[in-house]
Symmetry: C2
């Protein structure tokens, strides 16, 4: 199997491409470009007209807003399999965020005009775009719930637990992005995150640089439950 064919097989596994009819998949992938980015490189900038939509193949992309007085706020960090800018690209609107690689990132770039044109003839692509927008609405609502209802420690514990594979009793993982990006995505100051990391030792979590070791995931889940009841 050629390298190109292997790449196409891999795209089929991503939610954005999974439900497309073979002809629709071919039209899209014929114009798709696989791009690799390094930490700090931008996919697009706030204010630009949306010309492409992106599917994340590997790594994490942060969406941030720059306020009129120059302050940057991280809105959300998206990872593997998630689609970025799908609605704004199809509608031909301007980007309201800047998208930046938080580390090594691989994305599929699809030309917005082609996606909009193919979607007109292929209802399953329209539905996929709506599904991706709907998933985004859920993710942003989850984040608002977290920001409004959870303390710093609760946010950090849930984030750490989310790094462990389901049903793992213990796990050692690498933090997916820098502590600065973790703090910003959780809506915390970096000092607050550091203090929370120190307190986590009591719950069996050791953070050493970018490495995290969780000795007992059940104890971590129990601690989250205990903090929930204190609210």
């Amino acid at each position: 199997m050629s390298s190109q064919a292997r790449n196409l097989e891999a795209l089929r596994l991503l939610p954005f491409f999974a439900a497309l009819a073979p002809a629709t998949f071919e039209k899209l992938t014929a114009a798709a470009r696989i791009e690799r980015m390094r930490k700090g490189e931008t996919l697009y900038r706030q204010g630009e007209k949306a010309a492409s939509l992106f599917v994340i193949v590997e790594g994490f992309v942060k969406l941030a807003r720059l306020s009129s007085h120059g302050e940057e706020t991280v809105i959300h960090i998206f990872g593997r399999g998630e689609t970025i800018a799908e609605s704004v690209a199809v509608l031909g609107d301007n980007h309201t965020t800047t998208a930046e690689a938080t580390g090594a990132v691989t994305v599929v770039r699809l030309p917005a005009a082609l996606v909009a044109q193919v979607a007109r003839e292929a209802p399953e692509l329209s539905l996929t775009i709506l599904q991706e927008s709907s998933a985004k609405i859920w993710a942003l609502m989850d984040e608002i719930e977290t920001l409004k209802a959870q303390t710093a420690d609760q946010r950090v514990l849930r984030f750490i637990l989310s790094l462990c594979p389901p049903n793992a009793k213990s796990c050692s993982v690498r933090l997916p992005y820098t502590k600065g990006d973790i703090a910003a995505s959780l809506g915390l100051k970096q000092e607050t995150l550091s203090r929370s990391f120190s307190r986590l030792k009591a719950a069996g979590v050791e953070i050493d640089g970018r490495d995290a070791h969780i000795s007992d995931t059940a104890a971590l889940a129990a601690e989250i439950e205990r903090l929930n009841k204190l609210v």
Copy 2:
């Protein structure tokens, strides 16, 4: 002109209906129901399968999440002209929030199955649904930016200023919903909102029950700018 015809004319002014071809508009409005609700009545509950989508004609609807341990968090409050549950209804998914009238509310209820069916034949309706989803993504991102980047006073000042008509020098308005709902939508405790309301007097804002008087909108905007620079 009959009352029914006048109602239909009014619907045409709402963004959801504005761009529809006459035949599409007729198909939708033939099955539409105008519903009036009182404070506390629900449009749908979290966990139910989405059977309708709603367009707000008058009033404000709050979307809230109930956590597994019974805590309610207001995610966002939507107002006149905004559409609710459009993507989840067309996709046939379950509601992830409960929608509740914050006061007297008038909505148009459209059956989800009909909207999904008409959208398959009317590309302008598909586009409208995507536009409404995109508008929701923007609104939720705005809210995340506010929650992460702004102090209680900044959130309250911006909320109060948003109640004034553009270009008004001064204005007297009624608060759109209860102080409890205002606090919850801004991610503040009610005591924090009350303290912020007292401090607003210095910026020329008087709150008396549900009435607000802003004596100088330019001074209010200048105070927001000053607080921004302090961050």
